[in-house]
Symmetry: C2
Subunit: 245 residues, 2 copies
DNA sequence: TGACATAGCATGTATATACATGTTTCATTC
DNA sequence: GAATGAAACATGTATATACATGCTATGTCA
């Protein structure tokens, strides 16, 4: 009678599955109103706190929309703006198997007053901005060009780091764990300098990942140029909802 | 004494902020062990259920790692594989202001036995696969080429839809709300056909978003070719953690 | 010394209760 | 009829309590 599955999963998970099953089957369509918490308490035979937890988690996962005093509704599908998980290319190279070798070369490293591009990213009031150009290799073939602008005032001992170490990005993340991130993805034909550094034809396509992190003041700006073509792609599987792996 | 802020936010939010502040300040470093729930109950003066909820949410948000019987630890930063929100280009056009006009042209629409590319995406046992080519316009300029392979057996009344309607993708999402999604992003030079359809130079860069959805059997495969260059980019802000906007 | 049982402690779940907060509905009153 | 107020109902939060589950350390017994 309970309408809940009899697996070994916890009760609130069964309630979540019950709700998702009703959404998936089309019984509860988009923007439809769900039974109230007390209704579900009566029909499912669990406590209100358990129902509430299930509905709250489904709300934070994007499946439901709740309005205090009004009710609970089926949320519109959230694939409109899609979450994509893009793997760090360093990890991609590292995970591709033991027979590949990853390498890094530091091309340029200047601590200089902010040029136009730096000023454009709100570094204005920061005097020294560390600018470095790094090329990543796999099996002696350059696969990625990284252009980093880092605000050393916000990253302790950043200037003491070994810039050819592969752990630099991880160091940035570890020192500023609560930063916000903005990404832009675009595709551009390689310019002369990029083509030279990546050893690729000059008008071949580059996938550009622009990554800006800040905590209030800007921490770092990183432009990543990857020669994709047939050799590389960035991707992920995205499981929209209920079973966070 | 309570070490919690005195704002108007709920108690569990204050506990979360307290924990995040200790992580952000470096007091609790990566992999460090947090005080136990009972310790926090004593030092913060709230109930264990409240502490538990705060820690549970921080865990699901990726900030903490909890092991039953052992303790709670600061999770390594999750920016390793970065979440990126890529906006649907249809929404981008629609949201760009009233003076722009969006349009769609259906170029081809064949229901045919699966060719090689279709077979490669596990359509094998499905006989009829709907294949359509759609070009999206903004102000009479083509900006996106969409190549769709849809399994009509899994999408009710799909073949009855008006394919020049902008709502087709939304219809797909509404009919199969609990699908999983896989994305691949790459940058490719435009081939002859793509260049012709998008009215762009033949070797200019295309940003290609490959999107495959399935529920078990494959539902649809959509390849999106966007002429980016200086005109378009896909991007998002990603707030890693605590204040889901 | 080694194996095993156990106590202790950590997190995980479920419930009952109480109150807070926001919305809708409906009846009373002017 | 319109405005006001109260009741009913919805979700939101906080707490106490109880028990379940999993790991660790300790101490006893062979």
């Amino acid at each position: 009678m309970s309408a809940l599955s009899d697996s070994a999963s916890p009760l609130y998970e069964k309630v979540k599955d019950f709700v998702l099953a009703n959404i998936g089957s089309g019984k509860w369509v988009q923007n439809a109103r769900l039974p109230s918490e007390n209704d579900l308490v009566n029909s499912l035979g669990v406590s209100r706190m358990t129902v509430h937890r299930a509905l709250r988690e489904l709300t934070s996962e994007g499946h439901l929309r709740r309005v205090q005093g009004v009710g609970t509704f089926v949320a519109p599908p959230k694939a409109q703006s899609t979450l994509i998980e893009v793997s760090n290319i360093i990890n991609e190279i590292r995970d591709r198997g033991g027979k590949h070798r990853a390498g890094v070369i530091l091309l340029e490293r200047i601590e200089h007053p902010a040029p136009a591009i730096v000023r454009a990213f709100e570094f204005d009031r920061v005097k020294p901005v560390d600018h470095s150009l790094v090329v990543h290799f796999e099996n002696d073939i350059p696969v990625q060009l990284e252009e980093r602008y880092v605000n050393p005032a916000l990253v302790p001992h950043y200037l003491d780091q070994d810039f050819t170490s592969i752990a630099t990005l991880e160091y940035l993340q570890r020192c500023t764990p609560l930063t916000e991130v903005e990404h832009l993805i675009s595709a551009l034909p390689a310019g002369p300098e990029q083509a030279r550094l990546l050893q690729m034809p000059e008008r071949d396509s580059c996938l550009v990942l622009h990554r800006k992190t800040w905590t209030g003041a800007t921490v770092a700006t990183v432009n990543t140029f990857t020669h994709v073509g047939s050799r590389y792609s960035l991707g992920s599987r995205y499981r929209p909802t209920h079973k966070p792996a």
